[in-house]
């Protein structure tokens, strides 16, 4: 009997924990966009806005339109542009993390065809805790600085 009571308690606790995390909502990926790529360029960059209710990390990305998708950061030091792969993108609890030109991006390497404005493509993001999310990335003009207003929140 005692064992059963403990089991019931444990299940009850597990349910409470489950519902507590559900109340804060799931990790959200919004404003997924990319710039159209010039000519036959085989590299591109995709940008997203991520908000996670619990601390998490973006650890990988993939898309059928490119051979590889890597997490990169672009920085300027003394007017020298440097681009470096990064292992992950830190997602503090409840904070919006925006990937945007001039900062972090998802580098698309080995594009199978150019990204054309007006089109879209799927992008799958893998998180350390929240699993994967697949979003549709809207392709904007070559020099776009952000997602089209219709896609913005």
């Amino acid at each position: 009997m005692r064992a059963i009571r403990i089991m019931v308690l444990a299940v009850g606790l597990a349910l409470m924990v489950g519902s507590a995390s559900a109340q804060t909502g799931p990790l959200a990926v919004n404003d997924a966009w990319a710039r159209a790529t010039p000519g036959k360029s085989t590299t591109g960059a995709a940008y997203v806005t991520i908000e996670s209710p619990a601390a998490d990390r973006l650890v990988a990305a993939s898309t059928p339109v490119a051979q590889k998708a890597e997490l990169h950061t672009m920085s300027m030091s003394g007017m020298v542009m440097k681009m470096r792969p990064i292992a992950d993108v830190d997602l503090p609890a409840g904070q919006k993390v925006i990937l945007a030109p001039g900062g972090m991006h998802i580098m698309l390497i080995g594009l199978k065809k150019p990204l054309t404005a007006g089109q879209s493509f799927p992008l799958t993001l893998t998180f350390a805790k929240a699993g994967t999310r697949t979003v549709e990335v809207a392709v904007e003009k070559i020099g776009a600085e952000g997602p089209a207003p219709a896609a913005a929140h």
């Binding site: 710039r35 010039p38 672009m74 542009m81 440097k82 681009m83 580098m107 390497i109 070559i142 020099g143």
Partner: protein, 218 residues
Amino acid sequence: MDGGDISGGVAQRPSPLRPRSHLVLAAALLAGFAILGTGAFVALDLHDNPRGAAGTLLGSAIGGPFKLVDQNGRTVTNTDLEGNWLLVYFGYTHCPDACPTALNNIALALDDLGAEKKEVRPVFITIDPERDTSPALKDYVAAFGAPILALTGNNAAIAQAAAEYRVYYQKHPEAGGDYSMDHTSIIYVMDPKGRFTASFTGEDPPEEIAARLRKLLG
């Protein structure tokens, strides 16, 4: 800001550069002198004394002779381009962020200039000649909707052009045999006599670039 008289001679006149431009230039010179091993103190001195001698040194410190090949396979030298105002930017086609931003801002600035844009020639010089052949450059610059002259060359010719413009570049190998290029990201304004006149960052808004060019051209 007084930008109207610069075409009369960079060497003799007070510098018309904005304070922000000086920071850019100081940074450019820092990068350049780091390459040449000449010492960064000169750049710091320029930052403190933005007029007079600064104009002399800046005017002659950036730019110089080059012999490169354009996107149509034709040989182009610096003297071929004299008579036009030039907007010179060094970059590479596999650059997903900084280079498209800069070239697009140049294209939009020229649109903003209207009829006067005929006097201005954007020049994109690759610092990745290994991948950026003439055909690759042709496709790339055509996408920006501006008459951009794209130049490549052998490693020595690119190294010479970059050194003259105090442009730093360095290959950064990545996993799987790929690489990216670290590079100075500055738009240089050269006057019709090939003299360095002003500079922009790649992120400067097109309307600011256009407004500044309008004063220089006027």
